[in-house]
Assembly symmetry: C2
Homo-oligomer: 79 residues x 2
Amino acid sequence: MKATVHVFLKPGVLDVQGKAVENALHGLGWPSVKDARVGRVIEFDLDATDAEAATAEVKAMCDKLLANTVIESYRIDIA
Amino acid sequence: MKATVHVFLKPGVLDVQGKAVENALHGLGWPSVKDARVGRVIEFDLDATDAEAATAEVKAMCDKLLANTVIESYRIDIA
């Protein structure tokens, strides 16, 4: 099964990378760009019997390694 | 409209971050994890009349700023 994890800073946390991208796009002639946010995406294959078991495993991976849950939130997609 | 851009290293380019994640997950007790790849995701809002125009604009943003097209490929989703 293929897992995709999106990791973003939590809404309250200042996203300096997103702010920098937004400012750069404004400067390059796209003033309509708003609320830019930059995150990480991690894709991998894993052996799992069903989507529910895979989601539980990937959730554990996120909490242990893939995300810093103090300041980041994550979303898991299993396909 | 909301644009989401996924940026990954091209298949031929060694993804050291992905390799590190894969090795770490193996070490933490998930030996079945394979082909881990780490990329960036950039989300933002923009004013556009229709999805086609938005896609063309975001493509220009990717080529100019968001991706290094020498070593990275990107995927655009407009919602």
